[in-house]
Amino acid sequence: MRIESAGRWLEDALLVGLFGVLTLVSVMQILLRNLGFAGFVWGDGLVRIGVLWIALLGAVAASRDQKHIAIDLARRLLPERFWRPVAVVVDAFTATVCGFLAYYSWSFVRDSRAFGDTVLGDWPAWLFQLILPVGFALISYRYASGCLRRIAGVKR
């Protein structure tokens, strides 16, 4: 449990910190450009990768809060006693899909590392792409643990 809460804290801190950096770098680029400097060469690339990281970290946070966008018909149309079994199936499905996504993202990262792809000058691209497998693995973990808890009958 302590690892879990430390992990959550880290996720949140990363998300908030990343957004701060993203805002500052974006603003700095505009300032520099308007003052007649070229701006950082790597600034725009950094911002774009920052958005990717925010997308994944935000999605992980959304999984924790159960805030992913979904068609919420079952809850409105089915009687309450079906809610839990339906949620178990839905969570298991989501965990599986994200497991696949994590696995194939990992193979994408591995290939990119083998090819020696670079971004932002000569940084290895795989370092920045690593968020894909890590993010999807975390989402998968959230849904899997949610699913198990539902089966065990524990309220989230």
Binding site: V47, L56, V89, F93, F108
Partner: protein, 418 residues
């Protein structure tokens, strides 16, 4: 394979996250085509190759931060001072304010929660009947969809590879049409309410203007900056986010530093939920283009439909159903890549298509079974969902009329561009 596809669809209806459903269909599709599945990750990485996307987290954060301070109260006071003298004026004020606010906060429910709570008692005090009030506030929650810098407009631009600047301009007249017709309805419906009219006081206007002096430059930055060609979209977003942060945290100090991480996290949850759908849909779209779904779709449609007018009618019907079950963001990333080429064959301008698409999807916020505004309103004002539906119906009909006009008068969307 078809069985698996049907299963995935069933899971979507049962409430599986849309992004997982899209990812599953992409994985299935590519498996069938015998393509290595890491293509899904490669496509998802496309998020890092689309510069304008940075506008989405920045504008979303600015909207959430604005909602956390006292900006909504000031906005209400200012518009009341400006329009309070008009019969039915308070209803029109509510509509206009909701439109402005939801353009910034992306129709995510923040408007109903932040502004609705202010307008409900004010409208009650002015003698508007309960059903009208409820419908007005519910419909107001997504009125800003066609005005810059709404997220759906930006997302449509990204997905359709259309100019977001042009979309921002194109949305102005259609969005105004919605406001004007709703204002007309409000006036007609409350024509007996002459008693609530207040004297306009110049001092009142001046005080309200001074009070709102920090928020007033915002639309100027965003709209003036973008429309005037001074800022790119992502630059306007960065300036807006920084400006709102400085005003709320340093100048007015209505939001404490301690609340900041929570607000950032909350807004980034929404951003993550939208972008993860976009990322997975990049892969599924790629698959559908690969197997030529748009061409096949066009072939089928061509058999039954041969004029742009009938195509638009069919499209509106389809979007009405789509909007009733799917949220606007998923609908954009899933459907636009398919509809865009077909519409182009019928000679429909991509910018016009975008405005029609979003206007029609705006109705989806107010239609059962999944209309977001209905549920937020029902939750916020503690009313039965069925009651909210009935209260919202007249507003829905007015908006539907607007959508038809917007679809069949392309000039409304395109005139300002030329």
């Amino acid at each position: 394979m078809i069985l698996l596809g049907a299963l995935v669809l069933l899971l979507a209806v049962l409430g599986a996250p849309i992004f997982a459903v899209i990812a599953a269909s992409a994985l299935l599709g590519f498996t069938r085509a015998g393509i290595d599945l890491s293509v899904v990750a490669i496509e998802f990485f496309g998020i890092a190759e689309t510069p304008v996307l940075v506008a989405i987290p920045l504008f979303t954060f600015a909207g959430y931060l604005l909602g956390a301070g006292r900006a909504p109260q000031r906005l209400v006071r200012l518009s009341q001072a400006l329009l309070g003298w008009l019969p039915g004026g308070l209803a029109m004020i509510s509509l206009a304010t909701c439109a402005l606010f939801s353009a910034f906060t992306g129709a995510s429910g923040v408007t109903i929660i932040a502004l609705g709570a202010l307008f409900m008692p004010a409208l009650a005090h002015a003698g508007y009947d309960p059903r009208f009030r409820l419908g007005l506030v519910t419909a107001g929650g997504s009125l800003g969809l066609l005005f810059a810098p709404s997220l759906p407009l930006i997302l449509y631009g990204v997905v359709a590879e259309a100019s977001i600047d042009e979309l921002f301009v194109a949305g102005v007249l259609p969005g105004t049409l919605m406001l004007v017709l709703l204002a007309g309805y409000s006036y007609w419906r409350n024509r007996h309410l002459r008693g609530s009219v207040r004297e306009m006081s110049l001092a009142g206007v001046r005080d309200a203007l001074i009070e709102a002096k920090w928020e007033l430059p915002l639309p100027v930055f965003v709209l003036g900056g973008i429309y005037g060609g001074y800022f790119a979209i992502s630059e306007a977003a960065a300036v807006t986010a920084l400006y709102v942060a400085v005003v709320e945290l340093l100048i007015l100090r209505e939001v404490g530093w301690r609340e900041l991480p929570r607000i950032v996290r909350e807004s980034m949850v929404l951003v993550g939920a939208i972008l993860v759908i976009l990322g997975t849909s990049l892969a599924s779209t790629n698959y559908m283009i690969d197997v030529e779904v748009p061409q096949k779709l066009f072939g089928v449609i061509r058999e039954y439909i041969d004029t742009p007018a009938t195509f638009l009618a069919a499209l509106l019907g389809f979007l009405l159903v789509l909007g009733a079950i799917l949220d606007i963001f998923s609908a954009i990333v899933l459907v636009v890549p398919l509809v865009l080429p077909v519409a182009a064959e019928f000679g429909i301008h991509p910018i016009h298509l975008g405005i029609v698409f979003l206007a029609a999807m705006e109705l989806g916020y107010l239609t059962p079974p999944v209309g977001l505004n209905l549920f937020i309103s029902s939750y916020r004002f503690d009313k039965d969902v069925a009651e909210v539906c009935i209260a919202t119906l007249p507003f829905l009909l007015v908006l539907a009329t607007c959508v038809v006009i917007i679809a069949y008068v392309p000039g409304l969307s395109l005139w300002l561009l030329s």
